[in-house]
Symmetry: C2
Subunit: 611 residues, 2 copies
């Protein structure tokens, strides 16, 4: 459930703490421990993913709970294709690290991308779970999914997962797919993985259960619901009322998991979770985008929003709200999706499709045309470089490709990515890096080269901590609660008095009582002397109050060294509010040229005013 909840996932020391509580809940037969983005985000946080996986899987295996991971078939654990020797190594490494099952999915549902992984996983001793990426379109019928399941099972998949990543599978259809597969393959374990996003997935789980599904993916607060998974409590209660035998949940342990997870969220995960992730939305049905994309999509939208409105302003047209822009984007996705051949909207094809739609909206809003800016990766998807899109590509895109001299292909995508592990072995050797237990360090380098290098150099950790620091400061600023924030706010309303010269600040010279900076609230008329600055030469330069008012904050204390231009203090700019009797006293009294200083001399006019 951490997988879908934001950019980062808990770190090894946190996973180690939460695992026993998850085990104590006593209701899970398997737990998703890693894969998908897990390894990469550990690197991005400056942590060793291998250690994190071993740490997290160990307690579950000891408790007899199966662990499973998510992998992207041809893309393995990243967003772009992987040589087959690296894919093969992955399963060996992950099995050695304690992972039992791997959920192998291809975003296009192209069996050519999945089947080799099924073979590699079996060779490595893992249970390969063939995955159907669920979406809702005229080509994604029950027959389509049943046939795909047949193909994957025939190729060796021991389990089948219905991965309903956008949660738009209709409950009835989910039930029908499960029933068809169970009828044809009664011994195959079927798991349903559904995101709640547009609200179907509780009903989908009931339908799946009645159709014979074996495992349902659920979550625990605070990461259940919203755009993530239904909560295990609700699913258990629903199934029990329908006559299923379902394990009890140890609620004390549930609350422990909840408390620990909340602690991790408060610690750092929460800074990378979009608030919208906590809410359902039926608007996701029309476009079919996975809810987990909302965060990055909203920041994309913010990026183009101002540019679009600048254009509208120049044209004297009404501006568009960010909300209306979001709806336009959803409509555009719904419009172009059939034309792209209905690629399932899952990573990375959800991003590619969204990117094309985003640029279309951007250009069309500014008077331009659709399809003006399709990036290389998106073209790759259209042309078949990543595998076959499920439906036919629209004529207008075929024509456009021809005009651009781009060729469609039906070659097995893997053929473009020859074995490459030896090159990474040489890199490790050159760097003097150990291949690690079970070659796991070699694998990390080969899978995520730039991220792995940043992790090893310490740059990743540094960058992560810096970013986190900034996120924390921003959050605090938004809340308006830190002393720094309050001070900055107050200062913004005052007038800064800057040093007219460099030197030591003398607010007063008072040998009897000691010298000090004035109290906050001390009043000065415009033109009176605030303090003096003594450059090294012994000469004293007076600092004249150029605004009248009261001292609000002293920045440079008595005796402090300042450089010309430094802020000495902040004053309000409100001479009118000064009481009448203060005014004559404070005014123009202490001009150095008028009155020589003595040991008893007090520079601060207010000190006198008070007497």
């Amino acid at each position: 459930m951490f997988q879908s909840s934001g950019k980062y996932q808990p770190l090894a020391h946190q996973l180690e703490r939460v695992a026993p509580a998850i085990i104590d809940m006593d209701c899970f037969s398997r737990v998703e421990t890693n894969g998908g983005a897990f390894e990469q985000v550990q690197l991005l946080a400056g942590e060793n993913p291998n250690q994190a996986v071993r740490t997290f899987t160990k307690p579950f295996r000891e408790a007899g709970i199966k662990t499973h991971m998510l992998d992207r078939a041809l893309n393995a654990l990243r967003m772009y294709p992987c040589p087959s020797d690296v894919r093969r190594l992955m399963y060996k490494v992950k099995h050695a690290q304690g992972v039992d099952i791997t959920r192998i999915f291809d975003g296009l549902n192209d069996p050519r991308n999945v089947i080799p992984s099924i073979r590699y996983a079996k060779e490595a001793g893992m249970t390969p779970q063939g995955t159907l990426c669920i979406t809702h379109s005229p080509v994604h019928t029950v027959d389509y999914y049943a046939t795909l399941a047949d193909t994957l099972i025939e190729a060796g998949a021991e389990e089948i997962c219905l991965k309903d990543m956008a949660g738009i599978g209709r409950p009835t259809v989910i039930g029908q797919i499960v029933r068809r597969i169970k009828e044809a393959h009664p011994d195959i374990v079927i798991e349903y993985h559904g995101h709640i996003g547009p609200g179907f997935s509780v009903a989908s789980m009931l339908e799946a259960a009645r159709a014979g599904v074996d495992i349902l993916d659920t979550a625990v607060e605070p990461l259940s619901w919203g755009k993530i998974h239904p909560d295990v409590i609700t699913i258990r209660e629903m199934l029990r009322a329908d006559g299923f035998e379902v394990p009890e949940i140890n609620m004390k342990a549930y609350m422990q998991v909840r408390t620990l997870t909340q602690e991790f969220v408060d610690d750092f995960l929460g800074y990378y979770i979009n608030e919208q992730n906590l809410q359902c939305s039926s608007l996701l049905i029309g476009c079919g985008l996975p809810g987990g994309m909302m965060g990055s999509m909203m920041s994309d939208l913010q990026g183009i929003h101002e540019a679009i409105n600048m254009f509208h302003r120049q044209k004297g047209e009404p501006e568009i709200s960010i909300d209306d822009l979001m709806v336009k984007l959803f409509d555009e996705v719904a419009h172009i999706w059939p034309k792209l051949g209905y690629p399932p909207l899952v990573t990375p094809y959800s991003q590619y499709t969204k990117n094309i739609a985003l640029m279309n909206v951007f250009n069309m809003e500014r008077g331009g045309e659709r399809w003006q800016a399709i990036d290389e990766k998106a073209w790759g998807m259209i042309l078949g470089k990543n595998g076959r899109v499920p439906g036919p590509v629209a004529e207008e895109l075929r024509t456009l490709a021809e005009e651009k001299g781009l060729a469609f292909t039906d070659a097995d995508p893997q053929t473009n990515y020859p074995d490459d592990l030896d090159r990474f072995r040489r890199m490790m050797d050159e760097e003097g890096w150990d291949y690690g237990e079970d070659d796991e360090e070699l694998f990390e380098l080969a899978m995520h080269e730039p991220q792995y290098r940043d992790y090893r150099s310490g740059v990743a950790k540094e960058r992560f901590l810096e970013d986190l620091e900034q996120k924390r400061a921003e959050r605090a600023a938004l809340r308006g609660t830190t002393p720094e924030e309050v001070r900055a706010l107050k200062r913004a309303a005052w007038t800064a008095v800057t040093a007219p010269a460099s030197g030591q600040i003398l607010w007063e010279i008072n040998l009897e009582e000691g010298s000090a900076a004035p109290q906050v609230g001390t009043a000065y008329r415009r033109g009176s002397c605030l303090c003096e600055i003594c450059p090294s030469g012994g000469y004293r330069e007076p600092v004249t109050a150029l605004v009248g008012g009261r001292i609000r904050e002293v920045v440079a204390d008595q005796g402090a060294m300042v450089r010309k231009g430094d802020v000495i203090c902040y004053m309000d700019d409100d001479e009118e509010s000064l009481p009448a009797e203060e005014k004559p006293v404070g005014s123009a009294l202490h001009r150095p040229e008028e009155q020589p200083y003595s040991h008893r001399e007090v520079l601060n006019p207010s000190t006198r005013m008070g007497r």
Copy 2:
């Protein structure tokens, strides 16, 4: 859907705007227009509820869409019992105001409280909908609900509503109840009203639909999901995929409703909506509390939290978090609910039960005992004054009642509330108030006397606006005003001095003390030289003060590169305020053409002014 979304509901002028868009959605056969809290919160907002109801029902009736209201049987539109002549008048008034159907519920499911209302509603020409308050307990079986439906239908109910106000009805059970009623009464219209809160209700709707339900209550963003109702889009898509014929939704109109509702939320409704209302939570299953209560419950908890922790601190015990306290309260509700005889947790019995649990937690946390503080209303519920609780009251409470000298009763609750309308007629006469069209003003006084008086005197409006003002200020403070915002405000009052050319800014050339930008407050007469800009060629272009006044903010520091048109600094435009002695000094002194620069030359006139 507004009903469940917070304290207030939209005002008449807002309802008038949103109604046409709801009609244009072209998918609703009926719309909940009023009742429940609607009338009272209109009064609290200083508005006339009669006008609001008439305004809102009119367009729906004209469009052939039925309107319906919610009423609390014995309690009518308030939280405590109502004389029967006032109950009877309500249906006459509401029918005259354009309401077709009334959903009559009793929080205890006691038919004695509901049946007279069925008769009154029919007399007035309304369609009475008998309501089953759905909850989940050993006494709330399918048989229990089927029998209750039989009783209400026999008494004249023309429709039956399953009011699943906490959303904890299990989908399978909801289906079974609907099926049983439909089998026994094929011609009775059945409506299912379910809150999503703990996540069941989408599945419940599918089960209800398959069992023959006629109407499903849904909502529209931004008030769908969370603890409110499922969104109409999701329910429609789910049913369509299951083979039902369901009307199309005009999505353009949907988006209009969404935009307008968001506008109302931003205007004022949102200040009274608890954020938690936007999220599902499975923790509500254990205690069975309706999600709509979360807001008031959290503020209750905050109220006792500090007192409990003060006690713990004094005892040297660890403090308890608000989250853990919430869980304790949920557990306590689950513990006491059976002992109270399983009153359905709906208004006002959800409040009574929660209040007892809250005081129990409060006292037990502080070393005291359970049941120490049961208030009079809660005792009334236990003793049977409001009707029969569904299950037996626990022995320990019977004993406690005896000790306190409290007697249980099985009398018809209405007998304690004799007819009283004449008294209100006399009040109206004394005040010189008109009874209003169809006696609707008389009815409002009789139903909500104190609130109606505050509305008439204008106190309600004043109080509402004051509270809203404060809420807005609090929200703004919580959001935190950024230093940028404060600065922007200040800048708006000043005059921006922009660069007449591109180049490097020289405020002064002072080789001895170093050069710096002028201090804030430095005065310039109109026409004097502010600074110079050095383009790459070495030539210096003077920047002349085009307004006279003081520097308020330096934007371009000494040596900064600026582009033509950039803001260099901000000045006030207040030459008149400059002291007489400063004026000659600052004026036209440093025009480069008048005075050649030297190493000691100071461009900044203020440096001289101080001496």
